[in-house]
């Protein structure tokens, strides 16, 4: 699959069909990859596909000029489709190199399974539905469902629906109930407890805006938190302002968020952001039967309407 990708990518550049290739190359740390954004056909030799290709590459599309060949997992394909719906990306400007994705390995989960810090692990490999961890010369095996990200467990579209070239065989969704465990727990709490929970979690926020900046759906030229006239929130990490930032961010990306989980993964202080984004995803699905990024001809959620909907929420 990897070699096929390299060949296709090289060919796209050589034939002038694209100006850029966006994909993954090996990262500088164990078990990591890093985005490769290049115009150089020789760089395509570094392209990889492995269980650690975490980033949502669609994020780079809005900042790039020219035609792009982009390595695309299911979640990325939905983000790209969503960007097409919003007229941020023209379908003709992207060549989607689809990659069926059986789930990305969550190193935090692996650390828990192995009982060791990631630096101390010798190897992590994926064999079909098993994840194999080598540590201290010993081999441990776990079901893959225990080692991949929650959002991958919840993934509805592991194989891109929208693509130009599909690399490898389609893979079915996992649809594990474990994916929504945290939200379920939250919903069992009393409202005051829930608010207290978010207050505590957001108190850790450093306002690094990684959640916003890794998000393909957050494409505003200027974010409301940077407005000064009026200043909606204090540009400093106080929990009240952090929470308002997250609430509004989620409302802004409603109908665009594809539950790719990047915000939660990127957060350096591990705020469970997916428990916000996923709930909004479900609210939108329930109220408006809207699933973002599934159909490039669908109309964006917040700029359209149906005549009869959500009336029970109004007096």
């Amino acid at each position: 699959m990897e070699q096929k990708l390299r060949n296709e990518a090289r060919a796209l550049l050589e034939q002038g069909k694209v100006d850029w290739i966006i994909g993954f190359e090996p990262g500088s740390l164990k078990f990591t990859t890093t985005p490769l954004i290049t115009k150089d056909k020789n760089d395509t030799e570094r392209l990889v596909i492995n269980p650690f290709i975490t980033n949502n590459l669609a994020n780079f599309l809005t900042g790039i000029k020219g035609r792009v060949g982009i390595v695309t997992k299911g979640c990325e394909s939905r983000s790209i489709v969503s960007l097409i719906q919003d007229n941020k990306v023209a379908r003709g400007d992207v060549v989607i190199l689809g990659v069926p994705c059986p789930g990305i390995i969550d190193l935090s989960k692996v650390e828990k399974l192995a009982g060791k810090h990631r630096d101390e692990l010798d190897d992590i490999t994926r064999e079909k539905d098993r994840v194999i961890i080598k540590v201290d010369g010993k081999t441990k095996e776990f079901p893959a469902t225990q080692a991949i990200f929650d959002h991958c467990l919840a993934c509805e579209l592991p194989t891109p629906k929208e693509y130009d070239i599909l690399l490898g065989e389609p893979t079915p969704p996992i649809a594990s109930p474990a994916a929504q465990e945290n939200i379920k727990k939250l919903k069992q709490m009393a409202p005051e407890e829930r608010w207290a929970f978010w207050e505590k979690e957001l108190a850790r926020c450093t306002r690094c805006y990684a959640c916003r900046n890794v998000c393909p759906a957050c494409f505003c030229q200027r974010c409301f938190v940077e407005e000064t006239e009026p200043q909606w929130v204090l540009p400093a990490p106080r929990w009240q302002d952090n929470l308002i930032f997250q609430i509004i961010r989620n409302i802004h990306v409603a109908g665009r968020c594809t539950d790719c989980g990047e915000c939660e993964r990127a957060c350096p202080v591990k705020i469970p952001l997916r428990s916000l984004t996923r709930e909004m995803y479900d609210i939108v699905g329930e109220l408006f039967q809207f699933k973002s990024g599934m159909d490039k001809d669908a109309l964006p959620l917040l700029t359209h309407y149906a005549e009869q909907e959500a009336e029970d929420l109004f007096r």
Binding site: G27, S28, L29, K30, T32, T33, T34, P35, L36, I37, T38, N55, N59, F60, G63, S108, H117, R118, D119, E120, E201, R204, T206, R207, C208, Y209, A210, R212, N213, V214, E226, L234, P235, A236, P237, R238, E262, R265, A266, P268, V269, K270, P272
Partner: protein, 344 residues
């Protein structure tokens, strides 16, 4: 003064003892995130899991957000009120890289004008260093003249020698603290030899290296090489992780807030990665991403050493470890070309 030692089992007692005179901070984990938190009185589990904190201990001196003063208006005009007394802090378990970082950024806060908020905290704090025994994959402190288990920037240095921690006073304050502290045992020659061994082993475990030789000149030489910086910056997403969590990044913002006639002036950390950092109403000298990335790299490795001698990086590896796109400053520094004859 001969060095002392303390059994790991007695660390809780020791911290409780110090809590009488200090606000003691020690590594703690909340929701899986390691920070320097107020010592809770019991849990010394960190002795096993602690590698380094996510938020650098600079937060104890330059908090992510602090009130500078409050103001209120009455019939006679505005009145300004300063925040209440800070505490005497004791930071337990600070790593040599982070302690060095504080010593480095002291220069900025002492230069020309004294920064009272930062310096009052610094002047009132005791740093207890704890040497790393297993430096992380992302660590590169040894390339910047730092050894993971040795430090001159703390008051007291601890070294893990198995069941015990060896304690060596580094500063006068450290000596004073040892003299005041009960429950410490005298260390044997053997203990000291063991500690020496531990320090050496730790040093050799740091495998990531950078080539910082002539870096100031190298950076200045390629400062105007837009192509180089665009390539370096390509995958950066302009978030603030590498700067806000960096132990040597000190840039800050000042903002006011007024709620119900009560005003507060806040200071909070800011990041050169954000376009608004330099944005003026009419223009922005660093609107482009590559210019911001260049500023970050050049400030740490070029401008800061030009002003204050030291490179403003201690190789703690946080930026490498925490970056969502694995933008790796060690790769960038190593890729800055050796100074060619071309002068800008």
């Amino acid at each position: 003064m001969a060095s002392k030692k303390i059994n790991k089992k007695d660390i809780a007692k020791l911290l409780n003892q110090w809590s009488r005179d200090f606000a003691v901070f020690a590594p703690s984990r909340e929701s899986g995130v390691a920070t320097m938190a107020r010592w809770g009185g019991k849990d010394t589990g960190f002795l096993d899991w602690y590698r380094n904190t996510v938020v650098a201990p600079k937060a104890n001196f330059l908090p992510q957000m602090e009130e500078m003063f409050r103001f209120q208006k009455d019939g006679e005009g505005y009145h300004i009120e300063l925040p209440p007394d800070g505490e005497k802090q004791l930071i337990f378990g600070i790593r040599p890289c982070d302690a060095r970082a504080l010593a480095i950024i002291d220069a900025n806060f002492k230069d020309l004008y004294q920064d009272p908020y930062y310096l009052s905290r610094r002047n009132n704090a005791v740093l207890i260093g704890l040497g790393c025994t297993s430096p992380g994959e992302s660590c590169f402190c040894t390339s910047l003249g730092i050894s993971p288990a040795e430090s001159n920037d703390v008051d007291l240095m601890l070294t893990d020698i198995g069941n015990e921690l060896l304690a060596e006073a580094v500063s006068a304050a450290g000596k004073k603290l040892i003299a005041k502290t009960s429950g410490l045992k005298a260390a044997t020659r053997n203990d000291e030899a063991r500690a020496k061994e531990v320090k050496k082993t730790a040093h050799n475990k740091v495998t990531r290296k950078i080539n910082a030789e002539g870096i100031v000149e190298r950076l200045l030489a390629c400062f105007d090489d837009q192509g180089f910086w665009e390539k370096v910056a390509a995958k950066c997403i302009s978030c603030g992780i590498c700067t806000l969590l960096c132990p040597t990044c000190y840039c800050f913002d000042i903002n006011d807030e007024l709620i119900k006639q009560q005003g507060t002036r806040f200071r909070s950390l800011d990041s050169c990665a954000f376009p608004v950092y330099t944005k003026m109403p009419m223009e922005n000298p660093r609107a482009e991403k590559w210019k911001r990335v260049r500023q970050k790299v050049c400030h740490k490795y070029g401008f800061f050493p030009m002003s204050f001698k030291d490179i403003a990086c201690t190789g703690c590896g946080r930026c490498v470890r925490l970056c969502p796109v694995n933008w790796d400053i060690t790769q960038v520094i190593n890729s800055v070309p050796a100074k060619t004859g071309v002068k800008k």
